[in-house]
């Protein structure tokens, strides 16, 4: 009798839509996010191509006349040493992507476990973490980053570390807040009642439910890190010559802005487009991953 009644409940053809496939569907419908994704895929391709091919060697001096404007041979012109700007821009894309993505991966590695543990266990650990976060917020990030680069030396790795040190708090605080609210949900209690291990609770139950906001936060963190690196390089404490960075290229361009404006325009546009693309993608992801926007 009971089985007969239940058998009817078998749904007509339930859409096999998980949270992720739902989100993906919504993301594709967002034109701006779609265009941004395409741009970013192209940027990655360019950065990869630059590993094996650039029109000219990026550090080759005097391949064109110094300060020469864009031409057929040098599509974006040349800089003060007669180096091909397009080639340098392509290599600069590598730097930006490595810094942006690398920073966020490290930020995730640091911020997520700390935030999860603080939000889930609360108590003294949470108090300590919250205090440390506030201390880090209180110190000016550019100062910290500059001092760290001075101390550690201006390699790409050290720049990434310096940015992580000034940027991990946003992620830790977000994850902590998520953990604080998710830990009160009933399935967490149910999992505890079934004897789940503490690590399982954190990474198997709390983390998957916080993944949406974390992804969005990381996506917004990438352009912020790229901009920070460009800014450090613009100030001269970033990536060191001859490796080009969009920031250092803009710095060189600014000095020649009156007679060779293309030098500052090219890296600035590349930087702006990339920042915009990441931000639009982040926006799109936020809408797509928001479970309340069931469209």
């Amino acid at each position: 009798m009971a089985t007969a009644a239940v058998a009817i409940v078998r749904p007509l053809e339930l859409e096999q839509a998980s949270l992720w496939s739902d989100a993906w569907r919504r993301l594709r419908r967002n034109r701006l996010a779609l265009v941004a994704s395409i741009y970013l895929v192209l940027l990655v391709v360019v950065a990869l191509v630059a590993l094996v091919y650039t029109p000219f060697r990026m550090s080759a001096v005097g391949v064109a006349a110094t300060y020469s404007p864009p031409s057929a041979a040098h599509l974006l012109g040349a800089d003060e040493l007669g180096r091909d700007i397009l080639s340098r821009l392509m290599v600069g894309a590598q730097v930006s992507l490595i810094v942006g993505v690398g920073t966020q991966l490290l930020v995730l590695a640091v911020g997520v476990p700390i935030g999860l543990a603080a939000g889930y266990y609360k108590g003294w650990f949470d108090s300590v973490v919250s205090f440390v976060i506030n201390v880090f917020y209180g110190v000016p990030d550019i100062l910290v980053a500059m001092i760290m680069v001075f101390l550690l030396g201006p390699s790409l790795t050290n720049i990434i570390i310096a940015i992580v040190v000034t940027r991990w708090m946003d992620m830790a605080r977000l994850v902590r807040g998520q953990a604080l609210s998710i830990r009160e949900r009933e399935f967490v209690e149910a999992a505890r009642a079934s004897g789940a291990r503490p690590l399982k609770m954190l990474f198997g139950h709390i983390l998957p439910n916080a993944l949406g906001p974390i992804i969005v936060q990381a996506t917004f963190g990438i352009p912020s890190a790229i901009l920070f690196e460009a800014f450090l390089s613009f100030l001269g404490v970033g990536v060191q010559p001859p490796t080009p960075s969009w920031g250092s290229m803009a710095n060189e361009g600014v000095q020649a802005i009156q007679y060779a404006p293309h030098m500052v325009i090219a890296p600035s546009i590349a930087l702006s487009l990339t920042l915009m693309a990441f931000n639009f993608l982040g926006d799109g992801l936020r809408d797509a991953l928001d479970p309340r926007s069931r469209r």
Partner: protein, 343 residues
């Protein structure tokens, strides 16, 4: 499982949510715990597994399970007990399954947490899903909780609870979030499992009907204390505590006259920050006597296997206060003792 005595306080002023509760649960028994919201029945169950939510503390007592005091175990030891020896299922299957994990996987996890190999766990999950009568168990395994109906979700929760063949299954209002026909199916399922697997069940509910259908023994809780306990049939036939008596009277009856009003118990559940003096039920009790205002009654044997904590008891209320013919059951209605007249 022998002799459980739990008492604990939360801060924000001390709320005595469970105030000196003792009971025994025998292997394979099905025990009902009934009471209004805030009577401490859920907290009793949660403290059994040491899952009392945050400001709460178990301040004293013992929970003896196989001669082991669960309250003295380390965090890791109690974690091993949870889900393996004593499992719990919750009120709302919608929110007690993790929405982002596949249903079957969550049942697996209950076993993985206690060291069962993955392959075995998977096979047993499918078997369990069939056992709790989820149709097309193999394909349901891969479904997310939101793709299941409420009844199926609760079945999945029960499967999770049974995963490690626990000695005790605590069901905290497992049917309140479900509609009536599904409720009946779930109760039937729990009854079958109790009989066939010999799993002892503690059924926490505010519904006397649920207890009547499933349990052999019942505890009635009021204001964090047990006010009456005994075999279900006996309690239903001759409740001795006025609270139990009023609870039973408040069940809608199929054979009631159409114009008969549904009787409710007057007044509110006691404020556990400042519990009433004497008997905690006296502010709402129709049969209170003067002693009830000042002295706290203890559980005393009133009939074979039946205990009640009451100075009057219903036998006397029937004889001396005409309880059965009493229509108006406002506080003091039967005995005529009102607070104003005391002083």
């Amino acid at each position: 499982m022998r002799d459980l005595r739990t008492q604990f306080a939360t801060d924000a002023g001390i709320v005595k949510a469970v105030d000196g509760v003792s009971f025994e649960l025998f292997p394979g028994e099905s025990l009902g715990i009934v009471g209004e919201s805030g009577s401490g029945k859920s907290m009793t169950a949660l403290s059994l597994l040491r899952l009392v939510p945050d400001p709460g503390r178990i301040v004293s007592g013992q929970v003896l399970f196989h001669d082991q005091d669960l309250l003295q175990l380390t965090g890791e030891e109690i974690r091993e007990i949870r889900g393996r020896d004593i499992a719990m299922i919750f009120q709302d299957p919608q929110s007690s399954l993790n929405p982002v994990l596949r249903t079957g996987f969550q049942v697996d996890e209950a076993m993985l947490a206690h060291g069962k190999p993955k392959q075995e766990a998977h096979a047993r999950t499918v078997e369990l899903l069939k056992r709790v009568r989820i149709p097309a168990a193999e394909s349901r395994y891969k479904d997310f909780p939101h793709q299941l109906s409420g009844g199926m979700r609760q079945r999945a929760m029960i499967a999770m609870g049974l995963a490690n063949a626990p000695a005790i299954l605590i069901a905290d209002e497992p049917t309140t979030a479900l509609d009536v026909t599904v409720q009946a199916q779930i109760l039937e399922l729990l009854g079958d499992l109790n009989r066939e697997l010999g799993t002892a069940i503690i059924m926490i509910t505010h519904n006397m009907g649920v207890v009547a259908g499933l349990c052999s023994r019942v505890l009635v809780m009021y204001g964090g204390q047990i006010v009456e306990q005994g075999p279900v049939d006996q309690i239903f036939d001759s409740p001795q505590h006025p609270y139990t008596w009023s609870l039973l009277r408040s069940i809608p009856r199929v054979d009631a006259l159409r114009h008969e009003r549904l009787r409710s118990i007057e007044g509110l559940a006691p404020d556990l920050l400042r519990p009433p003096s004497g008997c905690r039920f006296h502010p709402r009790c129709p049969f209170r006597i003067e002693k009830c205002f000042t002295d706290e009654p203890r559980l005393e044997n009133v009939a074979a296997g039946q205990d009640a904590a009451c100075w009057v008891t219903m036998d006397r209320a029937r004889k001396e206060m005409g309880a059965d013919s009493l229509v108006d059951i406002r506080p003091g209605a039967g005995s005529g003792v009102h607070p104003g007249e005391l002083r």
